[in-house]
């Protein structure tokens, strides 16, 4: 929901980043305000996933120039776990399996780390169990998932639902969903989208990174951005997504090339 008086949550200016010495992000700009849902689309290799990892602070990605501010604070100064407790959440494209750590313990430790980050006391096992049972409804997950190792043996859809469960629990201010819809069957997609819609409020913001317009039938974005060659080259409303679906990316690439060479 666009409200021009809303506070800015994320402000990215002229961001450049490299991985293994290769520049992937080449001057990315993005402004996200409270209450907004942004979709970032683009071809493989355009830098979408790199952008999400840079936001979360992955150590393999080096920011070489530019700024990222989160609620006015310089985010590049924060460790990954500090970004998380400040309110940044990345739903992974490929959630990791952590054998031996139960989902329940993982969620509790993460939740308590957030509470600690806010200067609140940790909550005990019993209070946590009540809380998590509630959150399970958001993604229609069975309680038995809590007692399995984190993502171990989960299907693709279960892993993605587990990401949204974490989002529901941690209540981020900025949620970045990195291709959460890729490879999901339609029922799982509806569940995941339903979860995201429930969690979106006027006070937080969502950035959807996606390859497919289909997701945007279930989550209505306020802005659609197209990434190419490490930056955002076009921004529009949701009709842009339909246009991309119909016409492909080539026309945008052509316009972008024309712009660059002009």
């Amino acid at each position: 929901m666009i409200n021009h008086n809303s506070k800015t949550i994320l402000s990215v200016r002229d961001l450049h980043a490299t991985v293994d010495g290769t520049e992937i992000l080449k001057g990315l700009n993005l402004e996200v305000k409270a209450g907004e849902i942004h979709a970032i689309m683009g071809l493989n290799g355009s830098g979408k996933s790199t952008f999400s990892k840079v936001l979360a602070g992955h150590p393999d990605y080096k920011v070489t120039a530019g700024e990222i501010h989160f609620k006015g604070q310089d985010m590049l100064e924060l460790e990954p776990h500090e970004r998380a407790t400040a309110g940044v959440f990345l739903a992974f494209q490929y959630p990791l399996e952590i054998p031996g750590v139960s989902n329940r313990d993982f969620l509790r430790v993460a939740y308590n780390a957030h509470r600690k980050g806010r200067g609140e006391d940790e909550i005990d096992v019993f209070d946590f169990d009540d809380l998590i049972e509630e959150k399970l409804d958001v993604v229609k997950m069975d309680a038995s998932f809590l007692d399995r190792s984190v993502n171990e043996g989960f299907s693709g859809g279960e892993k993605k639902r587990n990401e949204i469960l974490q989002m529901a629990l941690l209540e981020p201010i900025l949620a970045i969903l990195d291709e959460t819809d890729s490879g999901l069957d339609i029922d799982a997609l509806k569940t995941v989208a339903g979860g995201v819609n429930q969690l979106a409020t006027p006070d937080n913001a969502v950035v959807l990174i996606t390859h497919y317009q289909r997701l945007l039938n279930y989550i209505q974005p306020d802005y659609v951005h197209v990434m190419a060659d490490g930056r955002i080259v076009t921004t529009g409303d949701k009709s842009l997504a339909h246009e991309l679906e119909a016409r492909g990316y080539e026309w945008i690439m052509d316009e972008h090339r024309a712009e660059v060479s002009a």
Binding site: H58, P59, E79, P80, H81, F92, G100, V101, A110
Partner: protein, 449 residues
């Protein structure tokens, strides 16, 4: 131009051999000198001494000792430990609430009846010291058939223990005897000002259809040189069940040599968990011999070592009858310059058809200088068997740590969580809740250090 070497100068290797022979002889004399007059057991002991005549002190050119170098012991003259040392409060703290009424305390190899609590035993069960039992002729005869009779008794440290142990814990369950209370044996190693040697010994006989949960807890405070040479023989008669937890938390100066030998008659079930956290150098020879069909054996091992610690587990499961089941998982977490060795041998003889065996060794390296040597050794003659094995050596995965960090968990906490997760699978096999939670705390503490 090569010059001939003077004949009375020995090559380093020869000098090493002579030194090792002499060192073993010295150890034999030392432990013989410590044999109590009232526990002569001359037949048993002299038989063991004969077995040692042909042997030398182990060295790394022997296949069984390739990765475990004992040469630093050769410079240390160990004397027999004094069993009358005062007992540290730490030993008292090891008592578990679940084992109240079934606790035996051994200090420096000597059984301490005054510190033991044995009022929770079932009818017909015998738990106590060999010294107390040997006065009964009927027991003397029964014991003679079991004590020192298990396969592998010729091995050098096993034989050394047999020559010189100063007392033994005897656990004897009658047919159908079920010990509801887990039995806890605490082996305290009390350091002295000079290097000492203690030889704890334990004999467990579970008669047909009996059941026992056994905890052996080796604890020590020696930061200076100490030598524990422990032997435990466990006999499971037909249909007996023994669940065994073995903990080694010896002091940082301790050489811990140990043998656990389990002999399983038909339809019996042995589940063992061995946890190695302490000692300077630990070697556990864990041997299982099947003597009847349809036995079940589960072995779980966990080592967590750091600094310059060395922990070596050599296991052997020998199957010679059909329908046996063996599962083994051994895990090691190795930090700093520590060195972990696992040699898992399984022998499936021609007669052991329909055996179902699996073995997995997983190692987690926490430092670039840590070292792991792992060797699965499956010798399968029978043709209708299932045998799976695997070994992995890995480091903490940066992506796993980042995933946890992205959920607000700091890198150091993430590392602790992953180490804990790696270890928990093994600790969960320990059947006594308080012990399980104490070890869980110990691992968490270890991971944070």
């Amino acid at each position: 131009m090569a010059k001939s070497v003077s004949e009375n100068v020995l090559s380093p290797m020869t000098r090493g051999t002579e030194q090792r022979d002499a060192y073993l002889k010295g150890l034999i004399q030392t432990v013989k000198g410590g044999v109590p007059a009232d526990l002569a057991l001359s037949e048993l002991r002299s038989r063991a001494e004969v077995l040692l005549k042909e042997q030398t002190f182990p060295h790394t050119r022997q296949e069984d000792w390739r990765f475990t170098d004992l040469s630093s012991m050769l410079d240390i003259a160990f004397a027999c430990a004094d069993g009358d040392q005062p007992v540290a409060a730490a030993i008292e703290a090891l008592r578990l609430p679940e084992t109240a009424g079934a606790q035996v305390v051994v200090v420096n190899g000597q059984v301490k009846p005054d510190l033991s609590q044995l009022d929770g035993l079932p009818q017909g069960a015998v738990v106590g010291s060999l010294r107390a039992l040997q006065d009964h002729p009927i027991w003397l005869e029964k014991l003679a058939q079991r004590l020192g009779r298990a396969s592998g008794h010729h091995e050098v440290f096993t034989a050394l223990n047999t020559i010189g142990f100063q007392d033994a814990v005897v656990v004897w369950l009658p047919p159908n005897g079920v010990m509801e209370t887990p039995l806890q044996i605490i082996y305290g190693a009390e350091a002295a000002d000079t290097p000492v040697l203690a030889q704890p010994r334990c004999l467990v006989v579970a008669e047909p259809s009996s059941a026992l949960t056994l905890i052996e807890d080796y604890w020590g405070n020696a930061s200076t040189a100490y030598f524990t040479n422990a032997v435990t023989e466990i006999w499971l008669e037909a249909n007996a069940q023994v669940t065994h937890s073995r903990l080694q938390r010896e002091g940082s100066g301790t050489f811990h040599m140990a043998k656990t030998v389990v002999t399983q008659a038909r339809d019996s079930q042995y589940i063992g968990t061995a946890v190695d956290l302490g000692a300077k150098l630990a070697r556990h020879n864990w041997e299982i011999y099947q003597t009847g069909e349809q036995t079940t054996t589960q072995l779980y091992g966990l080592g967590a070592i750091t600094a310059t610690q060395h922990a070596d587990t050599h296991s052997l499961v020998a199957l010679s009858h059909p329908y046996g089941t063996v599962g083994q998982v051994h895990k090691a977490i190795v930090d700093d310059k520590a060195h972990s060795v696992f040699n898992g041998r399984m022998v499936v003889a021609q007669k052991a058809q329909e055996t179902n065996a699996s073995q997995l060794n997983r190692n987690l390296l926490l430092s670039d200088k840590a070292r792991v040597d792992t060797k699965p050794q499956l010798e399968i003659v029978a043709d209708n068997v299932k045998c799976a094995h695997g070994a992995t050596v890995s480091q903490l995965q940066a992506d796993e740590i980042f995933y946890l960090q992205s959920r607000g968990i700091s890198a150091s906490q993430a590392q602790r969580l992953l180490i804990y997760a790696f270890a928990m699978e093994m600790l969960e096999t320990i059947p006594v809740a308080t012990l399980r939670s104490r070890l869980t705390d110990a691992i968490s503490e270890w991971a944070s250090a």
